[in-house]
Symmetry: C2
Subunit: 206 residues, 2 copies
């Protein structure tokens, strides 16, 4: 049984959070999911829905897997030293660290991504990657797998990244079974990323 | 400003709920979203995350739009008379009613779908559509739009249906803008449904 910590914070983007939860927590005989926040008080998502943390960052870092969803406020969270310290401890200990959207920037702010290839969302790419100056940022990728890090592009990309992480952990057949159960047409190619072009981040191939 | 009620219940499938919320609540200058439950107590999703309702069914039915996500426990909810009564009142009053997955079955249990075309998820299709014997169930469809009803197939199909409903309400450009912001490759064709075949519900075309 893998213990998965999902770091949540006020303003978290709902699909960044619950897309991966759907794809990972469905393996309920193999993954035990805990939502971890700075306090136990219910916190509002980006769209105002209030969700209840299960544990706090003061309850320790004993997890096998770490997921960091995004949201504009992820960067604010990265300016709080106790958040960075918990992410460093938990990320160092975990066998696998996953991020979605600006969650990649939050992870980069810990220094753990230094020297690694990673991606983040395409619309805010140029405005945010400077917060991780020692990361090899990949402009065009649905997700990037480098070492123990799976980092993904914006919002819905977290679902594809999570299925790729599930395939890495449990095999391709298990990931395909999950996608089928969710009737989800998943993008299995990590280099598939039309949004890098449509956002103007890279030029279309001619 | 459209007032959107999202009916939530214990055991609700997370992506059924938060996929559509991401696609609809992002129109925060046009949609005001309220999560409505039987009580105000935090309730667990299918995967255990606790979410807080904003209002209860006793607070009235004054909404323009209604969204009913699914989950195996949606059918249990349909056996509670006060739930059926609130869904009937709210659904009758709303200009548009949206369902995801077994949320379609829950809506069918109210009688409001009688004589209408509708769809639901593909894996449990045959086991559940008998609860709506007067509905014209469509086996192969990502979603079905009939009158004021948008009903969708399983779990992730709720995102496509929500974007179609947004296009209906606010125009295609607005829906495409939302999908782009979420880096979501949306299925614009309501007849696209490979899961009707892969689940064995319909035969592949030869």
């Amino acid at each position: 049984m893998k213990k998965l910590a999902v770091f949540i914070f006020p303003g978290i983007q709902t699909l960044d959070l619950f897309g991966p939860i759907e794809m990972l927590a469905g393996f309920d005989d193999r993954i035990a999911l805990t939502m971890v926040a700075e306090t136990l008080a219910p916190l509002p998502t980006r769209h105002g829905q209030r969700i209840c943390p299960d544990k706090t960052i003061d309850d320790g870092s004993d997890y096998d897997l770490l997921l960091i969803p995004g949201g504009d406020s992820a960067i604010d969270a990265g300016h709080r030293p106790e958040v960075i310290q918990w992410l460093q401890e938990t990320g160092n200990r975990a066998e696998l660290v996953m991020t979605v959207c600006t969650g990649s920037i939050l992870l980069a702010m810990t220094g753990l991504l230094d020297g690694h290839r990673a991606t983040t969302n395409k619309m805010d790419f140029r405005d945010t990657v400077g917060l991780g100056p020692n990361v090899e940022w990949v402009e065009q990728a649905r997700w990037v797998h480098d070492g123990k890090f799976f980092t993904s592009s914006g919002v819905s990309a977290g679902m594809d990244m999570s299925l790729a992480a599930a395939a890495h952990l449990f095999g391709q057949e298990a990931a395909d079974w999950m996608a089928e159960g969710c009737e989800y047409d998943w993008h299995r190619d990590p280099s598939w990323d039309p949004f890098a072009v449509s956002s103007g981040l890279v030029s279309p191939k001619v």
